[in-house]
Symmetry: C2
DNA sequence: TTGAAAGCGCTAACAT
DNA sequence: ATGTTAGCGCTTTCAA
């Protein structure tokens, strides 16, 4: 039974200094790595500190050094979107790697709430902020963030003042189309949603450019129903009614729409991938991995974007201006191969 | 164009005091509500502060008052589980309501990482901690948390030292069984997973007690395959092979297993709910709302648990010991009715 | 009701 | 390589 240090009496730098027989400056240096401390002294100080159960008070340190070592993470919606967790995890991992803490704040898409939350972040003296949207779109960064180094995730800043990271929508669409083409398909339809924005438009463009490259005729179909899988179903039914000749392959805007296509295909007795091949986007595993057959899909770089954003906003804090980052970074999607693609039979 | 305050020069309590012609003590009181300040003075100080763009530095305040107004959120897995977001959102909302900031920390189930992260939280002087697991199970709280008021989410503390909140697994199972019984079903099977733990065991017990109440014979089937929907599929197939007589209704451990049951039922030409009724647990919307037909399911109180935990851990901080909370709080699930339940035809 | 003064625990100049 | 000293921006006695 080791005697655990009594948590009621807060032990501070002065206690360690006294016990170690050095000045508090030396203790500070021994912990921060700044200044010059002999290896002998450093080790001794750390020993004593460990014995006393001391660790530096980050609040006091922050007050004096004007560095809180806290990164703010502002999100519009951490709850209902399935990807948020991966972005947050990436950010959290990067923060931990740099001995920073991540403060999470959520606005639920309410501008008033958002500016209040950001004010709280500023009052807390956060060193930097990651401003994340859960769907790729344009946003203007709230003025409350003016003084704070900020990096954007899944959104771009029209003013170009802030660095940002987004998925490379075109590459993602080209990759999805390519998989189908390589499997032998020549009749490939893109099922998308009735909405505007960089994700929808970028994927349509990427699809068109790939089809053009292959000398194929692009066909874009959109569903209009509420509900995501329902959109996929509607689009597929529309496809059936429009032409007698169904495509041999479908590239869906995302995995959940692919789920809808599965449902509609099944309803008319078509088997995947024997009768029709399907590719999605997201690699949202509760869907992509659980569908029968497993869905071949292009995974979005959510974790990587979260991680990159914290690294970038921290880099922008450094003196070394060569390390600073700006502009738009586009991250590629990665193909995840499952069983929903086969050569066409027709 | 209003001149925005120059963010480079940090304006502090002394600036406000000088400009307002009062002492810094009065400014402090005017903002904190402590002490006695005339309404006139209070309003004047706030006016001046607003004009100057002042807001109290929470770091300095924390150092002096020994209250950081930060709550730590320790999670084992914020990324891959679909529910995490809702717990975090509940916690974040409660924190914001109490003018607290939420610091998120994630261990990925690595004990070493976890204790490091907790040490960082302690060094940051967090006032309280929420320790959350993403699947209901037993855990021992790491000793690093010893000095800090801690409340548990989705897990219970065998020592009983910490208050905790978990889903009421038995009520959830009883509710699911009841829906089926009320629809007229008398042959109800529970499909579960090959695992131990409060969630699995609690739901089995709840199901058994409901069946006993109705005077019906409980039948519990488990799937063993890897993959969650696959487990549902296997269980259903096992069901088909064991008895010629299929049940008229299935209560699934969760929505993803229900998805597997849908797949297996479809494969043998059975329609839901005409031939067989299905109920899930979770209300994991990307599955429950998107399945065809929509899945009737018992929603788990994730948001509520997150919210409750922050409220509770904050309450335990207060002087008023009557407000303190302890013991295990069980939160009920809520029925979400969709289209997967119909009266039996047999 | 208001103000003066003494720190909270640390870091950063500036000695030595 | 180590130590002395003066704050960081607030809150909190305590006094007026």
């Amino acid at each position: 039974m080791s005697a655990r240090p009594d948590p009621r009496v807060r032990i501070g730098i002065a206690d360690v200094a006294r016990e170690a027989g050095v000045s508090i400056t030396t203790v500070s240096h021994a912990f921060s790595g700044r200044g010059h401390v002999s290896e002998r002294t450093r080790a001794h100080v750390h020993d004593v500190a460990a014995r006393l159960g001391y660790s530096p008070n980050r609040i006091a340190s922050a007050l004096r050094s004007r560095r809180s070592n806290i990164v703010g993470f502002v999100s519009d919606d951490i709850a209902t979107t399935p990807y948020a967790g991966r972005v947050v995890l990436g950010a959290q991992d990067a923060a931990a790697a740099h001995d920073q803490l991540l403060v999470l704040v959520n606005s639920n898409n309410d501008v008033t709430v958002e500016s209040k939350q950001i004010a709280a972040l500023v009052a807390q003296q956060v060193d930097a902020v990651v401003y994340a949207r859960m769907f790729h779109r344009e946003t203007t960064v709230p003025p409350a963030l003016d003084g704070v180094p900020t990096v954007l995730v899944d959104t771009v800043d029209p003013t170009g003042m802030h660095a940002s990271v987004v998925p490379d929508e075109q590459q993602i669409a080209r990759l999805a189309t390519e998989v189908l083409y390589e499997a032998g398909h020549r009749s490939i339809v893109h099922v998308t949603v009735d909405a505007q924005g960089p994700a929808v438009n970028g994927r349509i463009e990427g699809y068109r450019s790939a089809m053009a490259k292959y000398g194929l005729q692009p066909v874009v179909v959109e569903g209009g129903d509420p509900g995501i899988a329902a959109t996929g179903r509607t689009a597929f039914q529309r496809l059936c009614s429009v032409s007698a000749e169904l495509p041999t392959a479908i590239f869906c805007f995302n995995d959940q729409m692919a789920m809808g296509v599965y449902q509609a295909a099944q309803a008319v007795g078509l088997r995947i991938p024997a009768d029709i091949s399907v590719v999605g986007v997201d690699d949202f595993e509760p869907v992509s991995a659980e569908l029968l057959p497993g869905l071949t899909t292009v995974g979005l770089p959510h974790y990587e974007m979260g991680r990159w954003a914290v690294e970038a906003t921290l880099a922008n804090l450094s003196e070394d201006s060569a390390a600073h980052v700006s502009g738009i970074t586009r991250m590629p999607g990665v193909l995840v191969t499952r069983e929903s693609v086969a050569p066409p039979r027709r």
